[in-house]
Symmetry: C2
Subunit: 470 residues, 2 copies
């Protein structure tokens, strides 16, 4: 996190650099077309599952975020103290949701929220890691029966990845209580639980030997305790693994672990009912850093996009496109006097998905960045006013139309614009058309033209647009 | 702008207040439903006019914003200096657009951008003035013939207000060059032009006498110069007014004013072609504060929502729902060596529109905040797994479905939920239905139920949903 300190003066520097802030970027119309498609698919899925949406400010009181993110708190963007409240940019959408529930005393809500979040992380732009990025969250708040909404979270992730056609993926699940139970029975002292957890979490990227070294050398854990942890956390599987662990007397002697394993039985059964068993893997190394998780935790990895071991990244694996889990005590942190509001949710990390979809889209056929249906063309000089009248007619009929903003554009330039922008139809006028109160309606692809009386123009255009070419 | 300084310590205070930052608010699902409708209408209009969209970061280098907003620069939100670049939150979408064009050397683009902007203003929440608020901008960049895109900006505002059904409105237009010309011929010294302009701009809210007093007493203008200004700026009208002014020899002796008036002739003619003459008023008092305008300026006011003269607000009139204008030199400020990129655009101030639409919507019939089509109900105990299987079936068919997250919810609670949430259909199962591989399909409004074989369920639901009830 060492970063160059840059003493910028109040007045513009002469060597002013034209750029966006570190770790942020602009999105051009082609990228926006891809993003709109991805976000629309996600919103459709969220709505299919009956979710409502809310919006919260991009900034929160600094205190609202304090104590929620463990070690990651250092990555929070603060606003300058300009008098008044101390503010920070939101770090995720989960804490603002919890704050919203507590503030409005809502005990029961399934909400989705799609918005940007901010982290002063070391950006890795090419792999979709930014300081400003979209999150797409769905969360279920309410006192419900175990694992019913939790399993639906996994189902939602699965539906979105299928709908987007992103190829093979695995939804890793674990349980905070199972992990905590394992660490307890292996003799990890309470004050080391979080730091040992975070070492375990790296098992998807580095070999066990390195993780063990970190535990023993850096974190001062007894080597035999580390070995015992290694015996557990290197395992992953399905129902059978849970059953095996339920027969592990030592582990089940720990009440926390036992409760976690019982949840896991239910969770895996419900995933089976939802038809996603083959996508779900019970992975004992999954830990996730955030302080607020209390139950099942999720992380979804695209199989086609594995981690590059040459890189030294410590954050989520590059193939990770979704994370989440249960957080039963977070809302209560805002209002300890109210009855608790248990929550579970998942977040879709769309930046990585955007990158993949962009690569696919840009490799394929042309992406349209406008939806223009008709271009109004003048074949002779001094007809700009006629073009404007025709545009007004088309707009009034709800038809997407453009014309050149030049008074006397060259006919060729106008036709070429239609081809460049993939506009399907052109309305062409010259003085003779105006005299006869007709226009030429031209199909840009086939280059076929026919004369249409003005009074029929809207109807004819609608018919043409409804008829697919080729 | 005096604001209480609040010394908040780094650690959470014991008297922690659960709130959003000053001048910001959350939006609940009902408000979001209204916002989605408004934004959709606006996007449809922008697309009808052939616009592309881009996105830019919420923060910009502080230097990017420096020197663009005149006196309003004091309202810019800065980020804390945490090492690295000095950043600010965007104040509008226009400067980021200009920065984007310059950075990417784009000379030609019609783009829309819908995003939130940030101003450390004194909030007036009940009248739709916030510190975080949406702007919906469309801008046309490029070297075109005079007033062609400018008139389309007015047309776009008119279409949006018509589409939203917001009642009577007036699109006020003026021209920076006409105003500058008037001030010049009235003998206002160059260094006083901006401050006298801003006094003129208040004429829609305070009587001329007060404006004159401000010019003479506060700004030290000669009373006879002020009177001469008053002779001009209190006028508004249409084509005729422009013609009259074109015959004013003194004014037309000023080349700047003359050029502005010639633009205005064209602009009003094009507005006539677009069929919006009756909505457009040439208003000589319209000034608008921003430094970057160079040509026509626009401001649109809803007639049903007039200014309350009892309030002491200095900002835009409360009825104002759109502003904009031409800014031919802003892009060049980022890259003086490149050829200039003239631009014109308008911004829809949707917060005020949201408030009005909310009042209307909440007064009328119930607003649905979800789109759920089917609720899966179990009439007996221990059928949660059957409900889950049915939900998975429906989701797989693209049908929006929910069920209770309780293992054994009461039948009455389930039916009541459907009514509360206006869900049209319920699928009801009991053990006998499961044995016979059927379900009961129930119309929630009419309470009619019929038995449907499971294999036909999806088709039957689709038919029901396609048939309007009542």
């Amino acid at each position: 996190m060492a970063e160059e300190v840059d003493n910028v003066s109040e007045t513009p520097k002469s060597n002013f650099v034209l750029k966006t802030p570190k770790g942020t970027k602009d999105y051009d119309p082609r990228q926006m077309a891809v993003r709109e498609h991805v976000l629309k698919t996600i919103v459709e899925c969220f709505k299919r599952h009956g979710a409502q949406t809310i919006d919260t400010p991009v900034m929160e009181l600094k205190e609202t975020l304090t104590g929620k993110y463990g070690e990651d708190s250092k990555l929070i963007f603060d606003l300058a103290d300009q008098g008044g409240e101390q503010l920070s940019l939101r770090y995720d959408l989960t804490v603002p949701f919890a704050r919203y529930l507590a503030m409005n005393k809502i005990t029961n809500m399934r909400r989705y929220h799609i918005a940007k979040v901010y982290r002063r992380d070391n950006p890795a732009m090419t792999r979709g890691r930014f300081r400003e990025f979209y999150q797409c969250d769905i969360d279920m708040a309410g006192q419900y029966d175990p694992m019913i909404p939790d399993a639906e979270c996994a189902k939602i992730v699965s539906e979105i990845l299928e709908d987007l056609g992103l190829g093979e993926y695995v939804i890793k699940v674990n349980h905070r209580k199972i992990l905590d139970g394992i660490l307890a029975v292996c003799g990890v002292p309470a004050e080391k639980v979080r730091s040992i957890s975070s070492a375990v979490d790296k098992l998807d990227k580095v070999p066990w030997e390195d993780v063990k070294t970190e535990m023993v050398k850096e974190k001062g854990l007894d080597p035999s305790a580390a070995d015992m942890i290694g015996h557990y956390v290197r395992r992953s599987g399905g129902k059978q693994l849970v059953e095996e662990l339920l027969e592990d007397e030592k582990l089940c002697g720990n009440a926390t672990a036992k409760q976690g394993l019982e949840d896991m039985v239910l969770l895996l059964k419900y995933c089976e009912l939802f038809g996603i068993s083959d996508k779900v893997s019970f992975d004992l190394s999954l830990a996730r850093g955030l302080d607020y998780y209390t139950g099942p935790i999720f992380e979804t990895v695209l199989k086609g996009y594995t981690h590059d071991p040459a890189s030294q990244e410590e954050s989520v694996s590059v193939g990770s496109v979704s994370g989440g889990g249960r957080y039963d005590t977070l809302v209560g942190m805002f209002d300890p006097n109210e009855k608790p509001v248990p929550c579970v949710g998942v977040s879709i990390g769309v930046e990585r998905i955007f990158s993949i979809m962009e690569m696919k889209a840009f490799a394929g056929s042309k992406i349209r960045t406008t939806e223009t249906e008709v271009y109004v063309i003048s074949a002779q000089k001094d007809l700009v006013e006629e073009r404007m009248k025709l545009c007004a007619l088309l707009w009034g009929a709800g038809i997407k139309a453009e014309h050149s903003y030049k008074k006397n554009p060259k006919p060729l330039d106008q036709f070429q614009y239609c081809e460049t922008m993939s506009i399907p139809l052109a309305v062409v006028i010259g003085t003779s058309e105006i005299e006869q109160s007709v226009v030429k309606l031209r199909d840009i692809k086939t280059r076929k033209e026919r004369e249409v009386p003005r009074e029929n123009l809207v109807t004819e255009i609608r018919t043409e647009l409804a008829t697919p070419v080729d």
